[in-house]
């Protein structure tokens, strides 16, 4: 059996807060794989640790513990030369589109930057720049323009072109369409699907938009406060989610259909997200969970097999109780 292209094992990224004491456990024990040519989506609400997970994979944020493997090789703690070598295999499209491009650089120079860093000769680099511009549907006449002369959708094409310049096998896409208007969003989603089909790229696709995720992803990971609440193949998770948080998320998607929307039962969560500085010891979702039992406040559930994949919920999946798991192992 071939190994998955990207493997993330029990990744933790903790931010100690200077002065005040305390630690933000932004990512707290996350494991998953991204197989070659597939799209795995990381979803969840603001602050749940999606971007931090991405940064740790790219080595832009040091992992507190855990392991990241690319193509079977441990890349958790690479030096600068190692990172540079890896840039040809793995690239990221950052969340903030306005910060992603240098306003003073031309489009061609922005796209060619990773090539220059890798020491490409200028003639070869120029050919490659025009090839990837063509790939993402940017007219060659844009090469000499600066980003402010481009629309939001065109700028996002530039950012994707730059990420593709070194022919990576994995693209980490952090909210690649969130800042775009709906009519432009579908253009970029089509582009991403086409590129994957043509080039066999793997995507780690980060988004809080579940309709988009359902459309594009093969597999979905639902994060909540630094941990994975539920994971599984897209169809079963959307058809019948196991975790009450996933259920609430799916029921909260506003459907662009007044008839269906008015017929739908919506789960409205009460309670507040705990402070990331004081995540409770039990289930992180317990403060807002409609199913919470006393045990949920005490014991942190672990991911256990569910009908739709894996879920970490004590009430829905008894095997998610770590004590039950230990007892079963002892027997």
């Amino acid at each position: 059996m071939t190994e998955p292209l990207l493997q993330v094992r029990d990744l933790r990224v903790h931010f100690p807060l200077r002065g005040r004491g305390g630690v933000v456990k932004a990512v707290d024990g996350v494991s998953f794989n991204v197989p070659a040519g597939r799209t795995v989506a990381l979803v969840g609400e603001s602050g749940c640790g999606k971007s931090t997970t991405a940064y740790a994979i790219l080595g832009l944020e040091p992992a507190t513990s855990g392991e990241v493997r690319f193509d079977g090789r441990d890349i958790t703690r690479l030096d600068r030369a190692g990172r540079r070598a890896l840039a040809g295999d793995m690239q990221i499209v950052f969340q903030d589109p306005s910060a992603a491009l240098d306003p003073k650089m031309t489009i061609a120079d922005s796209i060619g930057e990773p090539l220059a860093i890798q020491g490409w000769k200028s003639a070869a680099a120029a050919r490659r720049v025009f090839a990837v511009m063509d790939l993402v549907g940017l007219p060659a006449s844009f090469a000499g323009r600066t980003p402010n002369a481009l629309s939001g959708g065109q700028r996002q094409r530039v950012v994707i072109a730059r990420a593709l310049a070194l022919s990576p096998r994995l693209l980490v896409l952090d909210e690649p369409v969130s800042a775009l208007d709906v009519s432009i969003r579908s253009q970029i989603l089509n582009l991403l699907m086409n590129l994957q089909a043509e080039l066999g790229l793997a995507y780690l696709f980060i988004s809080h938009d579940l309709s988009v995720v359902r459309h594009i992803a093969d597999e979905i990971l639902v994060m909540y406060l630094g941990t994975i609440a539920e994971r599984g193949l897209t169809d079963p998770v959307f058809a019948a989610p196991t975790h009450p948080y996933t259920e609430a998320l799916l029921s909260a998607i506003p459907l662009p259909d007044p008839v269906a929307q008015r017929r739908r039962r919506r789960i409205v969560l009460t309670g507040d997200l705990p402070s990331p500085l004081a995540i409770p010891p039990g289930c992180p979702f317990a403060t807002r969970c409609p199913l919470a039992q006393p045990r949920c406040v005490e014991v942190r559930p672990v991911l256990a097999p569910s009908p739709s994949g894996q879920a970490a919920c004590l009430v829905r999946i008894p095997a998610a109780d770590p004590d039950a798991a230990t007892r079963a192992a002892q027997r």
Partner: protein, 332 residues
């Protein structure tokens, strides 16, 4: 009709008539007319830059300095707001009509306790004393679902989550029981589960208090959930309007039809090619003559170089501004 006659009970609460706004000579709102009946929710929907916020800001005389209202009249409950001076308008704002702005955290005063921010309107418009105003403010914070409001009233905005700040904004907007609430993207900056809470809160306000809401959003899902009526904007103009169910069931304007078709559906075929609208929205100084959607419209023909009027289409309560609505059904 004489100027003195009182408005009939079923007369619309808000009427916007032929509003036009320019910025540096560029036409950013052009001929917008709206009519909002009491107890109804009208959604103004469209993509970024189409003129939604400027339309809303014009209603209460809050246009930014660069912008100029060059045409149009706004009537609230029979009163011509465009005839009022700044002092009279300030009395209307927060009292008869209030606005919730796009950025909840940025719109609150960071240096003022949230309870005081809610109480301020009561002191200003209702002449309540400090203690009375504080008590009513806490009651209002409780009504919008802030737990432990007595204590939270003492908090500063940075100590509250985005959803909590948005509730504070809503409490401040509603505390004087305005006739009209203008909500500009009230949930855009929020997570979906928090959005669901705020939309639930707005549903409650309608049911209990019969609130009349002008809801501005770019999210067709939020429109479908909240609105009775919809007005779709493109390039500073209303291109289509009508009751929400009729309009979604069979959009008449090519733009509305395509816009709805580009959104991935939860029941759609996964990984399928999505519909797109080719090209980009031109900048406000580069609209084509005639129909402003012409440069992106797959149905565009010679006649489209003349401006299509917003005319009845499909049913007596619907309007669209397009020469070729008969052909639009085949689009998507």
């Amino acid at each position: 009709m004489s100027a003195a006659s009182p408005p009939a009970a079923d007369a619309p609460l808000l009427v916007v008539d032929d509003l036009a706004v320019t910025i540096n000579g560029a036409s950013v709102v052009d001929g917008v007319s709206l009519s909002l009946r009491r107890g109804r929710v009208l959604a103004l929907v469209g993509e970024s830059g189409c003129g939604k916020s400027l339309t809303a800001l014009s209603i209460l005389g809050l246009l930014p300095k660069a912008a100029r209202r060059v045409r149009g009249r706004v009537t609230l409950d029979g009163q011509d707001l465009t005839a009022l001076d700044e002092r009279a308008l300030a009395r209307v704002r927060g009292d008869q009509a209030s606005v919730i702005f796009q950025e909840p955290v940025a719109s609150l005063n960071p240096l003022m306790r949230v309870g005081d921010q809610v109480a301020e309107a009561l002191r200003l418009h209702r002449g309540l004393t400090g203690e009375e105003a504080r008590r009513e403010a806490v009651a209002m914070l409780t009504r919008v679902g802030i737990p432990d409001a007595e204590r939270r009233a003492e908090a500063y905005p940075f100590e509250l989550s985005g959803g909590m700040c948005q509730r504070v904004m809503i409490a401040a907007a509603l505390v004087c029981q305005p006739k009209l609430l203008i909500a500009d993207e009230p949930t855009t900056a929020l997570d979906v589960t928090v959005q669901a809470q705020i939309l639930g809160l707005m549903h409650g306000l309608r049911a209990e208090a019969g609130a009349t809401i002008l809801l501005i959003t770019h999210d067709m899902g939020v429109v479908a959930e909240m609105a009775d009526d919809v007005a779709v904007m493109y390039g500073g103009r209303i291109v289509e309007s009508g009751p929400v169910e009729e309009l979604f069931a069979d959009p008449a304007h090519p733009y509305t039809r395509l816009l709805l078709a580009t959104i991935p559906r939860l029941d759609g075929r996964r990984k399928e090619h999505l519909r797109t609208i080719e090209g980009v929205v031109p900048t406000a100084d580069q609209w084509p003559d005639g129909c402003r959607f012409r440069s992106r419209c797959p149905l565009a023909a010679d006649i489209c170089s003349r401006t299509p009027p917003l005319e009845p289409v499909r049913s007596a309560v619907r309007r669209a501004a397009c020469w070729r609505t008969a052909e639009a059904a085949a689009l998507a």
